[in-house]
Amino acid sequence: MNLVLLFTMVIASVAFVGAAMILTRWISPRTFNRQKSETYECGVPTQGQTWIHFKAGYYLFAILFLMFDIEAVFLFPWATIVQELGMKALVGVLFFLFFLILGLAYAWRRKALEWK
């Protein structure tokens, strides 16, 4: 039932956006001139393409994010059974977090967290 509802919500959101787009295309005015379809940017004509090489700093943070995001995926099932496992859960996660924090400390030490 939940999956049916999820599917319903996806369809509903797509239909909502689509209906609003169709409505606005239907009631809004349509004019054409050459200047209008230019990129706005900041008023002056755009130079060249936008799809160029970009700053690598963001890429570094994305890689770090991957490491920690997968950690969250591992920790969520663990979190639900902490109360049943008791002490065992604490000892187990201490090892896990130790290696994780080691990774963060390494990145920090190698200046991966500095914005250059």
Binding site: N2, V4, L5, L6, T8, M9, V10, I11, A12, S13, V14, A15, F16, V17, G18, A20, M21, L23, T24, R25, I27, S28, R30, S37, E38, T39, Y40, E41, C42, T46, Q49, T50, W51, F54, Y58, F61, A62, L64, F65, F68, D69, A72, F76, A79, T80, I81, V82, Q83, E84, A89, L90, V93, L94, L97, I101, L104, W108, L113, E114, W115
Partner: protein, 358 residues
């Protein structure tokens, strides 16, 4: 407490008695879809109006006053204005991605919105991995923002989108860690069960110090997730025109605007669900009379009161602090919030294992 499941089962059994079961399911799905979309729009309108009035109050102004009494109809006028604006297609843009972006942003926002528990039984999506699902569905919206900036062939949009990507994936971590801390305390990920547990004391009280730290981390990370000041670099007006949605006109822009406001509502709604008890009334052990008086207030009033309290906190932060730089934003996340969040998770585990919770 009034249980809304009795109402929904009544509708369900009535429809099943007059129609074949497949048609009944179809009609139920349609009813639910319409209800969620209408609720979404109503809350969006309330939020936009509230933002304007709160902002005006913080700056010693009156805010919109002309359209309708106290400017109540201003938002409706704005929505109508947006509807009659022409949608411009940009030269040299990536047409498919350009038009796909608002769909993705709205889809993530609406799916997350339907996970919120407004009252007992008044919740659309209730997975047994609810808290995790909410994180997954809300992180989906980053894609839309990245596509919007990437596809519109505008350097400022591009910078805004990349900044937004870097910021939102970073802050998702500490958001996940603070939700994880609460899951350790509750022992379940299902949203309805989490709220059910809190009828015997809200988590911010039963989890005391670690839960409070997690709440503060969550508020900071949630503020960054919604791209609002002091974390509004992706759409910094003074540097990037309007950031990733510069090239969008009319209702296309309106979708981003609505989704941004509703993401704030969702962040506040999740905060009130996980930390402040959702629809659970205030419970003080030992004061039976007080508890029974509190139970007379309906659940959705509790939920909305807590949610709007958190929204007001977020607006207060928005109109008080100046904008951060991108290096400061990332340093705050990686050097402060993530280590604090990890240690806080350990403290919460120790508290739960030792039984030091209330």
């Amino acid at each position: 407490m009034f249980d809304f499941t009795s109402m929904t089962t009544a509708i369900d059994s009535y429809l099943n008695s007059v129609l074949p079961s497949s048609a009944a399911t179809l009609i139920e799905c349609a009813i639910i879809a319409v209800c969620v979309i209408v609720a979404y729009l109503v809350f969006a309108i309330i939020m936009i109006f509230m933002e304007r009035k709160v902002c005006a109050a913080f700056q010693c102004r009156l805010g919109p006053m002309r359209v309708g009494p106290w400017g109540l109809l201003q938002v409706f006028a704005d929505v109508f204005k947006m509807l009659i604006k022409e949608i411009i297609s940009i030269k040299n843009s990536d047409k498919i991605l350009y038009n796909l972006a608002p769909f993705l942003v709205l889809m993530s926002s609406i799916i997350t919105f339907s996970c919120l528990p407004f009252d007992k039984g008044l919740q659309v999506l209730d997975f047994n991995i609810g808290a995790f699902f909410i994180m997954a569905a809300s992180s989906f919206g980053i894609l839309g923002i990245l596509l919007a900036g990437w596809s519109s062939n505008n350097k400022f949009s591009m910078i805004g989108a990349v900044r937004s990507g870097g910021q939102m994936i970073s802050y998702e971590l500490s958001m996940g860690l603070s939700i994880l801390t609460l899951v350790v305390l509750s022992g379940t990920m299902q949203i309805s069960e989490i709220v059910e547990t809190q009828t015997k004391g809200w988590f911010i009280f039963t989890g005391h110090v670690p839960a409070f730290i997690a709440f503060i981390i969550y508020i900071i990370a949630g503020n960054a997730e919604t791209n609002r000041a002091p974390f509004d670099l992706p759409e910094a007006e003074s540097e990037l025109t309007a950031g990733f949605h510069t090239e969008y006109s009319g209702m296309n822009f309106g979708f981003f605007y609505v989704a941004e406001f509703m993401n704030m509502f969702i962040i506040a709604g999740i905060a009130s669900t996980l930390f402040l008890g959702g629809w659970a009334p205030l419970y003080v052990p030992g004061l039976e009379g007080f508890n029974s008086v509190m139970e007379c207030i309906p659940g959705f009033v509790w939920f909305l009161a807590k949610t709007f309290f958190v929204i007001w906190l977020l607006m207060w932060i928005r109109w008080t602090f100046p904008r951060l730089r991108i290096d400061q934003v990332l340093a705050l996340e990686w050097k402060y919030l993530v280590p604090i969040g990890l240690i806080n998770l350990l403290i919460m585990t120790i508290c739960v294992v030792m039984g030091w919770t209330f």
